[in-house]
């Protein structure tokens, strides 16, 4: 199969929210000995970026965004292990904080981070403070993203920052917070690196801080 055809299949699979198609195209890329970084950057990324832009304009909605991200995740699971460490933008560990089960905002940011070129480890909802940190260390993440929707749960965002500071690990990770009651003032108050008011802003902040604080 030609390289062009494989790249087109990768692009199409994301645009059509087709996980099986994404896996099949990724396998074809590997079989043809295509540079896996090229398969990602020329095949998957343009399509997921296009999906992200459509979502921002509300031309498509959350289910389509998440299905496209799911397809991308399926292909990345095959391609990423073949890429030398140090390539790509790095890993983001993301979740909704302890005691909070709201997931929509977190899902949007996770999908948009993936669209922005990050390897995203989604820890789900009601994630313990220590789990954020353990998973960030285990996956050598650059960024920890902590979402909270309730005024009664944003205190857990502070716990993540405080735990990192107390254990001498604060400088190892960029901590981004977000969700309904969070503000830039809150992020500053608790010592987080920043607060993303939208998913797009969260990706921009991750890009900015990944280059150095």
């Amino acid at each position: 199969m030609s390289e062009d055809k494989i790249l087109k299949d990768l692009q199409k699979s994301i645009l059509e929210y087709d996980s099986a198609g994404a896996v099949s195209a990724a396998k074809a890329a590997i079989a043809s000995k295509m540079d896996p970084l090229k398969a990602i950057e020329k095949g998957l990324v343009p399509s997921i970026e296009s999906i992200g832009q459509k979502f921002e304009k509300m031309e498509i909605y959350l289910p389509e965004l998440m299905l496209a991200a799911d397809a991308m995740r399926s292909a990345l699971a095959l391609l990423l292990p073949l890429i030398p460490k140090g390539s790509g933008k790095g890993t983001v560990v993301i979740g909704t904080v302890q005691g909070d089960v709201h997931e929509i905002g977190k899902n949007i940011v996770a999908s948009m981070m993936m669209a922005g070129g990050y390897n995203v480890i989604d820890l789900g909802v009601d994630v313990k403070t220590t789990s954020f940190i353990e998973e960030a260390k285990r996956n050598r993440a650059k960024v920890i993203g902590a979402s909270a929707l309730m005024s009664s749960t944003i205190g857990s965002q502070k716990d993540i920052v405080d735990f990192l500071a107390s254990s001498g690990d604060r400088k190892k990770f960029i901590v981004l917070v977000g969700g309904g009651p969070t503000t830039k003032e809150w992020a500053k108050e608790i010592g987080a690196d920043a607060c993303g008011m939208t998913a797009v802003e969260a990706v921009k902040l991750a890009d900015k801080f990944s280059k150095g604080r």
């Binding site: 909605y61 799911d70 205190g155 503000t183």
Partner: protein, 461 residues
């Protein structure tokens, strides 16, 4: 009649499914299918639709959606399915009238119809918005209790105890929820409305343990208050929420399920969001054992309910419910703009008009997206209630013209709304009145409303 044990049995024995599959591969495509099958179409030129067949199609689409996809229990990973007979029986047996409150503040919440002249039930306050201190909490709730139209209070949420931020499901949350109960009652006592019901019991109790702990009688909560339990979107439940149901039922409290399918979220655009809202009403009376409902759909981008498409969602789903059921449903609205701005008052006027003329009652409101501490005052819910009373009985066609005029005032600013002023910058807790500046904003607003054809009560300052 489906009862709590039936819900548990269904949650334990229903069809196994992953949460992702339920949301993305069952719920979302089925919503789109129902929109298509029932030819439901959003009309931006008419944010208040005047079409009974649309309301009826929406009702059928919502019923079919619940029938097809059921609810979902995240703790068991199973679908909670209902038969058509169970859904229709629950609709038939749901109360059309409930009593809340004590003494002279004991009132009836009654079902309303489209263009109904009966004033809406006014559940007024902060809708669980965050406040910084006990002082702010008392200032706000005293102010809400003094509004003549207040039928019930929706309190703010307490965010700190002993100088510490509340942590979920911790002793801090338990203590904060208990304080929420005590202070809410105390604030009502201070202004002579001892019997008024608290209907978002309890805003500070996100966890089941905090709610249960705050219901010990000495903290002052009553059977005649309203017990609000928030649904996980879309149509999901977990054991913690069902624990709250069990606790509220055990004390004979009336449960109100609040639910907020986001416009742009799992249900898609305005059409799907309206269908989802209708389905949530039916799911609430079954799964959450609700006797009243509280829809609070908000727009994914604006985090508010005042945009054109949101007004259409509120009105169309409200009409579907009030034409086809006798359910007790109160719409909660959020504004983008903050206190002491005309935009905030215009936004809440539009959302309340959409809800009340569609046959819903109101919970009002979350100000400035309800995320900033102390960025709300008793003025905004008072104005919402005055508008709610003024538009009761208004024809949908007239309401449509009114909200179009209101939209013209603020629609272009929804992306960058003014945050306005904080509580003590524009409200005097000693005189219990808005600041001179805010009084000026209100007078100008009322003058402009009169110019749009809606005369509101004169200001008494």
């Amino acid at each position: 009649m489906v009862q709590l044990l039936d819900v548990m049995q269904k949650a334990l024995e229903g069809k196994p499914m992953s949460e992702t599959d339920y949301q993305l591969r069952s719920f979302a495509p089925k919503v789109a299918e129902k929109v298509k099958e029932h030819k439901i179409k959003y009309d931006p030129q008419n944010p208040i639709p005047n079409d009974n067949s649309l309301a009826d199609e929406l009702f059928e689409a919502g019923l079919e959606l619940l029938l097809d996809v059921g609810a979902y229990c995240t703790d068991t990973g199973r679908v909670i399915s209902y038969t058509e007979n169970e859904i229709r029986q629950a609709l038939k047996q749901a109360p059309s009238k409930l009593h809340f409150g004590e003494g002279r503040d004991r009132k009836h919440l009654v079902a309303r119809k489209i263009e109904d002249k009966t004033p809406p039930w006014c559940l007024l306050g902060a809708g669980g918005g965050p406040c910084s201190s006990d002082r702010s909490f008392l200032t706000l709730v005293e102010g809400y209790a003094e509004i003549p139209e207040t039928n019930a209070i929706t309190t703010p949420a307490i965010t700190r105890v002993g100088g510490m931020r509340v942590r979920p499901a911790s002793p801090l949350e338990v203590l904060a929820a208990q304080r929420n109960a005590v202070l809410a009652r105390e604030a009502c006592n201070r202004v002579g409305r001892q019997g008024i019901p608290i209907m978002n019991s309890l805003a500070t109790a996100e966890s089941d343990i905090a709610l249960a702990a705050a219901l010990y009688p000495k903290f002052g909560m009553r059977q005649s208050d309203g017990y609000m339990i928030c649904c996980m979107d879309p149509m999901k439940v977990d054991f913690a929420r069902l624990n709250k149901v069990a606790v509220a039922l055990s004390m004979g409290g009336a449960i109100g399920m609040c639910f907020g399918p986001m416009l742009g979220g799992y249900a898609g655009g305005p059409e799907g969001t309206a269908v989802s809202n209708v389905a949530h009403h039916m799911m609430g009376i079954l799964t959450y054992q609700s006797s009243w409902l509280l829809p609070f759909t908000i727009h994914l981008r604006y985090v508010a309910s005042s945009s054109r498409d949101m007004l259409w969602v509120i009105s169309s789903m409200g009409q579907a419910i009030s034409r086809n059921t006798h359910l007790l449903s109160l719409n909660l609205n959020y504004t983008t703009a903050g206190p002491c701005t005309p935009m905030c008052l215009f936004e809440t006027s539009a959302s309340v008009t959409a809800a009340v003329t569609a046959g819903l009652s109101i919970e009002s409101l979350g100000v400035a997206t309800n995320k900033h501490e102390d960025r709300t005052t008793p003025v905004e819910p008072r104005i919402s209630a005055e508008v709610g009373h003024a538009v009761a009985g208004m024809k949908r066609t007239d309401a449509n013209e009114l909200v179009k005029k209101l939209l013209a005032k603020y629609e272009s600013n929804l992306s960058q709304p003014p945050l306005g002023k904080s509580l003590y910058e524009c409200w005097d807790p000693e005189t219990r009145k808005p600041s001179k500046e805010y009084q000026g904003v209100i007078k100008k607003y009322k003058h402009e409303m009169a110019g749009m054809g809606l005369e509101l009560k004169p200001e008494m300052y």
